[in-house]
Symmetry: C2
């Protein structure tokens, strides 16, 4: 692949869609966080993989940021009637994806294989691979103990103050076997504007993955998920405050120091341009429209290519 | 309970509804075939239990005979889109029942307990118990080997010729612990007009269950599922032909000989009245309307009570 992008769910999927639209399908592969994965009602749910899959398949719900746009909720209504847990919303059509994946896994397929079958069925032409076929489960540490990520994120609405994170299972996980193929001939790696702590760090925590990215020789560029001291989406800024670090783009750049070769700042943070430990590029990074996504993707690629050519 | 009825799905559930309507809720309990149960997509599906549950909850689909009347099929549509198996139709709302049951079982509940929770949630006031909490799985033997019941019944549309039946797991199963309570003070046991081979025999195959029915001292009455040489519903007559026995009410009575104290014949089989090895009663046993169900229930109870009082 010419380019490989690391991404979590909603925020990262916006840039991922932009990249998918400005590049030929065979030029880009996505490596997705599976630290959010969990078992619910016996189903293997993979929220970030699903968000990206639906986004690239043109099936996503743009208002919610997750799930499908053509969704109905009869299953949830009946579940509620039966007095069962309803904190995690599963749409009727979305359920079919989880059931299909779970069945394939139970029959011995890997998550990489199950994802391939699902994305193919839905007409996604880009490669989407999980960071690992092994279970890695993000635990959010809080004052009242560790909480599984989806419980923190969905059930508890990110309310508990975080004290740290743990990626259970990461020590013994290996990268998806397709990672090496994706990195062949790689000209650039993009870290999408996802949450550094719970979307990107789990990917980087898979032993060998970080080294593989670096060994590719391709420049690594991260796009800041923090704009003007606030998170575009999600709890990134709130978490930074709770962890006692400034909720700033500079802090995100520092978080990735030693890994990335370049960092993309939003126009609101233009004052930081040239002040960080790595080359920076200022861009309009709020992605409201499809054109915004395409423009940021193009600018990111341009920056990556300039870094590769030593032109920065 | 004053009365206990053994039943399978669709055909038996018609009389079960009649019994539920003519008796106070605390006077009747239903012991249901679970030989049809199977695992599909990791879900524990219990077709006969579900048909009876929906029937007594007023939620059943009267046209199909199974499933819910207020059903939608978005899950199946999405499953088809993903290229997954769609031979077993799971409605969006129906799915919630299977998910709830499967979750309870995985958390250690018995099928009896899970059923109680589900029927309570749906407002069913009568007791519905599975024949056993242990797995018993009906295998239909055919010329091309054994087939799991739902595969024979739904996927293969009862097309293969049957050569026999096997109730895998029955040897080591025990009756639902609630059976004994249901049989306390029992004044009559009714075998609903269900398929003798695949709906009633699995129940009777649970060691100790037949003996418990007989030890109750209550008269046992079966209602013929064969009327004028044809099955009212389902493959009963076809099976009898394939097994080389006449598809007749007399043959069904012979099948239950040694167990039942009385047999209810349809008017079309009135010629058999008084010719069988046990007392018989002729009734209008086709249940088209709700009134038909109630009338047959009342006549069955009247026959049972007459047998108990020695008035037959």
């Amino acid at each position: 692949m010419a380019y490989v992008a690391l991404t979590g769910g909603i925020g990262g999927a916006k840039l991922a869609l932009g990249l998918a639209r400005v590049l030929a399908a065979e030029k880009i592969a996505f490596v997705v966080n599976t630290g959010d994965d969990f078992e619910h009602f016996g189903l293997h749910i993979s929220p970030d993989m699903d968000t990206l899959t639906y986004t690239l398949a043109g099936l996503s719900n743009p208002e919610a940021g997750w799930g499908r746009h053509d969704e109905s909720w009869q299953f949830m209504a009946a579940l509620d009637e039966l007095g069962s847990e309803t904190w995690f919303r599963l749409g009727d059509r979305d359920l079919a994806l989880h059931v299909t994946r779970t069945q394939m896994l139970s029959q011995g397929a890997t998550l990489t294989q199950a994802t391939r079958r699902i994305t193919d069925s839905l007409g996604v032409r880009q490669r989407i691979i999980p960071m690992s076929d092994d279970p890695v489960r993000t635990q959010v540490h809080t004052a009242s103990g560790p909480v599984a990520f989806q419980h923190y994120f969905v059930r508890d609405r990110c309310e508990p103050a975080v004290t740290g994170f743990e990626f259970a299972g990461a020590e013994t996980a290996t990268p998806s076997p397709d990672l090496a193929t994706c990195l062949e001939g790689c000209e650039g790696v993009i870290i999408c504007p996802s949450n550094p702590f719970v979307s990107v760090d789990p990917i980087l925590a898979v032993p060998g993955l970080r080294a593989a990215l670096q060994a590719s020789g391709a420049p690594l560029v991260a796009v800041s998920p923090i704009v003007g001291g606030a998170a575009i989406k999600g709890p990134t800024a709130k978490m930074m405050g709770e962890l006692g670090v400034p909720a700033s783009a500079a802090q995100v750049a520092a978080h990735y120091a030693g890994l990335i070769d370049g960092f993309i700042l939003d126009e609101r943070d233009a004052a930081l341009d040239g002040t960080l430990a790595m080359p920076t590029r200022v861009a309009q990074s709020l992605m409201v429209t499809l054109a915004d996504r395409e423009r940021l993707a193009a600018e990111t690629l341009e920056f990556v290519n300039a870094l590769r050519k030593g032109a920065v």
